[in-house]
Amino acid sequence: WSLPLKSVFVTFPGDIIKNMTDSELAESYLKKFGYMDTLQRSGFQSMVSTSKALKRMQRQMGLEETGELDKSTLEAMKHPRCGVPDVAN
């Protein structure tokens, strides 16, 4: 009995633009909190695997270790948190 408003998205001046894609958000999160770099540091020559980094993050956060960017993992990445990296680099 009421149609949902057709939302229009506005860019607000002074807003720190955060509308990244999910994968951009995930990559920036994994790097910022040390999950991605660590693997490189351990000397593995193989290509850094986002999936492994995701598993490490999921383990730290007590999430199911799927290695996938699933819904709960994405939500965790959007949750307010402390700025100290989870993996010291």
């Binding site: 607000f12 720190i16 955060k18 509308n19 402390c82």
Partner: protein, 573 residues
């Protein structure tokens, strides 16, 4: 739990902290309290003690900042990163930074401590009713002077209890105007401003002049945010303007329209379409206490935990009845050990005299039985005593320009002219043979050069090697209810203040009697010092009140201008 590589930790249990600035979101007294409680979370389960310094460099320097705030780890606007801290060490290590683009509260919405009014600083009660209308924020209704106020009970009409809310019309904080309120309009770089502004600043903090001309007087302060103020956006601190127009539609409350993240915002002018002025609406905010307790865990050496309910878990979640998780306790005790001292042991009836001294720590000699109350019995001399190991002295005073520290039959001296450590121990009985081992206080009468020593209810007067006493302190006009004189403070010509408990008396040295109008309450005259100081003396133009390891220094204007360690600043260990 996890610790940082190399188990970084503070090597001393006496950790100091200093609050460098404040957020406009929450009153500074509430911020002080939140930080003190956050430190107490950790001191309750370890031997750690936290002392606040008001100047100089502390172990943990605490500050608020936005986006790029000077270290390599910028914050990111509202939400996202809330704060960060560095593991123990020098320089920036050990410091804690809080993102001031966040809305800082105690986790359940605006926290407003009232000023003035008749509610003695009580908190606002939201909602409250006033003349039949319900208010969930401060209001200026009913006031011709436009000052925001609130009721501190649910119903103003029946209880009549109220107070004023933070506003730039009442006070400012920081700056150089000692908290004076804003003056509107004021002139800045030739322009006239009739409200707070961020002009001239790159950090986005709102400020105002506290005279009508900043260009001439250069007097300013930061504006506290009102509880209705928006955060973030481009109008931080301004209140929402209702109704406002957005994309041709009128809104008379906050909305998430136009945003993909669902966050509530409002315009701070009548038309967002015309002015493009906006900010996020006040929400529950983040608990400064909880976030601070987490960051202080880092500053003490704890890394992130993967236990979801632990305080050191990296994601924020609000907890009403906070208590430290077992994982956090194990982690911090791995670094510093459990808490020792009376609070760690259940009280024992008929406690033997060897009960630990009220505030023992690892510098206290443990082989001596200690009485539960100081007494004036004599003790055997032990030349190996190191003054830097003591946490408390029987008496500290200045004799012939040198600081003297008395303890258990010995005394040490530090020279005011050199920075070397203490010399001694010297034997009290060798220099003043008739004196007992425990001296509660002493002073040198500057006119006659006589030395007065107090122990328990007796006193002695030395003139060179001649001595008069012991005599009862009642002879000086002190009441017989006094157990001991804890401090003596020379005041001008021939007057000395004698401190005991929460009172002090003024002795006329020449007349050997107490002036009329005494005793007075110590904290009524010397505000801001502990009322159970056990040493009081004058040194280099400052008055020192000592308690435990610490001193509170008071300048000639009777302001506490420094708190520090007896051991480092006076004894120069």
């Amino acid at each position: 739990y996890k610790t940082f590589d190399g188990d970084l930790k503070w090597d001393s249990h006496d950790v100091t902290y200093r609050i460098l600035n404040y957020s406009p979101d929450i009153q500074s007294s509430l911020t002080d309290d939140a930080f003190a409680r956050a430190f107490k979370v950790w001191s309750d389960v370890t031997p750690l003690t936290f002392t606040r310094l008001f100047d100089g460099t502390a172990d943990i320097m605490i500050s608020f900042g936005k986006a790029d705030h000077g270290d390599p780890y910028p914050f990111d606007g509202k939400d996202g990163l809330l704060a960060h801290a560095y593991p123990p060490g020098k320089g920036v290590q050990g410091d804690a930074h809080f993102d001031d683009d966040e809305y800082w509260t105690l986790g359940t919405g605006p926290v407003v401590k009232t000023l003035y009014g008749n509610a003695d600083g009580a908190m606002c009660h939201f909602p409250f009713t006033f003349e039949g209308k319900s208010y969930s924020t401060c209001t200026t209704d009913g006031r011709p002077d436009n000052l925001p106020w609130c009721a501190t009970t649910a119903d103003y009409s029946t209880d009549q209890k109220y107070g004023f809310c933070p506003s730039e019309l009442l006070y400012t904080f920081g700056g150089n105007a000692d908290g004076a309120k804003c003056v509107f309009p004021f002139i800045f770089l030739g322009e006239t401003y009739d409200s707070c502004t961020t002009e001239g600043r790159s950090d986005g903090y709102r400020w105002c002049a506290t005279t009508d001309n900043f260009d001439r007087d250069v007097k300013y302060g930061f504006c506290p945010s009102r509880d209705t103020a928006v955060t973030g956006g481009n109008s931080e601190g301004e209140p929402c303007h209702f109704p406002f127009e957005f994309l041709g539609k009128t809104y008379d409350s906050c909305t998430s329209e136009g945003r993909g993240d669902g966050k509530l915002w409002c315009s701070t002018t009548a038309s967002y379409d015309d002015d493009k002025k906006w900010g996020f609406c006040p929400d529950q905010g983040y608990s400064l206490f909880l976030v601070a307790a987490h960051e202080f865990g880092h500053a003490l050496g704890l890394d992130h935990s993967n236990i979801r309910d632990a305080l050191m878990y990296p994601m924020y979640s609000y907890v009403e009845d906070f208590s430290l998780h077992e994982d956090d306790i194990e982690g911090i005790q791995y670094l510093y050990g459990p808490k020792t001292g009376p609070t760690a042991f259940p009280p024992q009836p008929n406690t033997p005299t060897t009960v630990p001294y009220p505030d023992p720590d690892n510098t206290d000699p443990t082989n001596e039985p200690r009485p539960t109350e100081p007494t004036t019995t004599t003790r055997s001399v032990d030349p190996t005593k190191d003054a830097c190991k003591f946490t408390k002295f029987d008496a500290i005073t200045v004799i012939e320009g040198e600081l003297h520290f008395f303890k258990d039959g010995h005394y040490w001296k530090t020279s005011s002219s050199s920075d070397g450590g203490p010399t001694g121990p010297f034997s009290i009985s060798e220099r003043w043979p008739v004196l007992p081992a425990v001296i509660d206080s002493a002073f040198e009468d500057l006119l006659s050069r006589k030395l007065y020593f107090f122990s328990g209810t007796r006193f002695w007067v030395y003139t060179g090697q001649n001595v008069l006493g012991p005599r009862s302190i009642e002879k000086l006009g002190l009441p017989n209810s006094i157990q001991k004189v804890e401090g003596a403070l020379q005041r001008g010509r021939g007057k000395v203040l004698l401190f005991s408990g929460e009172n002090f008396w003024r002795l006329d040295v020449k007349g050997q009697n107490i002036d009329r109008g005494y005793p007075k309450y110590t904290d009524a005259v010397f505000g801001g010092i502990p009322n159970d100081a056990h040493d009081v003396f004058q040194y280099k133009g400052h008055v020192y009140f000592c308690r435990d390891r610490f001193y509170w220094r008071m300048n000639s204007r009777r302001q506490v201008d420094r708190v520090g360690y007896v051991k480092y600043d006076l004894l120069k260990c």
